[in-house]
Symmetry: C2
Subunit: 183 residues, 2 copies
Amino acid sequence: MTKPLIVTFAGGPEGLWTIESITAVTGESLATAQRLAVVEGEAHHAAQSSWRLRGATSNSRYADRHEATNLRSQQEGLNRSRATMAALIPIRKTVAWWDLAQDERREIFEERSRHMAIGTEYLPAIARRLHHCREFGEPFDFLTWFEFAPEDAPAFDDLVSRLRSTPEWQYVDWEVDIRLSRR
Amino acid sequence: MTKPLIVTFAGGPEGLWTIESITAVTGESLATAQRLAVVEGEAHHAAQSSWRLRGATSNSRYADRHEATNLRSQQEGLNRSRATMAALIPIRKTVAWWDLAQDERREIFEERSRHMAIGTEYLPAIARRLHHCREFGEPFDFLTWFEFAPEDAPAFDDLVSRLRSTPEWQYVDWEVDIRLSRR
């Protein structure tokens, strides 16, 4: 586990990624934009961006030792040359979720929803990086970033569909699904 | 659980609290300062402050339902009129700590170190608010703020002494103890 990395996702006229679609899954959408810039490190001030979302990587909050070792052994990193498709999925969870104790959140997250177990089925094809932003006073609680090859796009659709049908997702009250590609 | 509150602790010429002492428990100290300002809400820019530490309240990471309910039923809030003494204890934990999985951290934190159980013994006399700052790119990982009446100062010394002797504290590689008072 390296130090937390602050990452800014800026939708606007510039950036490596072309925004293919922005879909409101639950709640409001975000403003349309042509491109997405992913900027690692301290706050990025792109004057022309349509919107900016900021979060930080952190330690895992739910994985036990066995799960953490299993995930690390199977997952691949970002920036693989064949992974020319990406998704940014900002979500916010309800007050009821944040009022739960650690054991209650863990039970819903994994024992009942199998969040990590489902994600593991799609490794190493779907690479993932989670950014926490609730403590930053940001509108969303989490920004999850995914990268995959075009041939794995159907598998990615399957992954998010399965997660959205879990008991955990009953605690999600805002979710936007942003799909991206790069040449 | 309310929304996270961003709090800035600024040591300098101004602020409600008089700094009585700054002691380096492990690692380097902080620069001397006369007073401490505790500013709730978005970033505070006190031009003259000697140092500024920033963190955010968040959900509990270890308390199970029974422990959370027990703590909430016994603890009192900040700003009690008789609580004219305070302590700000910034700590940083080691890379080894952050590399642990959730179940491993929980076992060290509570099963082996009894962190919450020890803290509960000093309720309601010692009021406490924890601020997370690792994800902010701040120098410390946590800023814990305590408030108590002068007659409870010996109990507070006892509390921190007991915590510092736990297995959990073997993962603390930087700790400063700042004592404060107000009239």
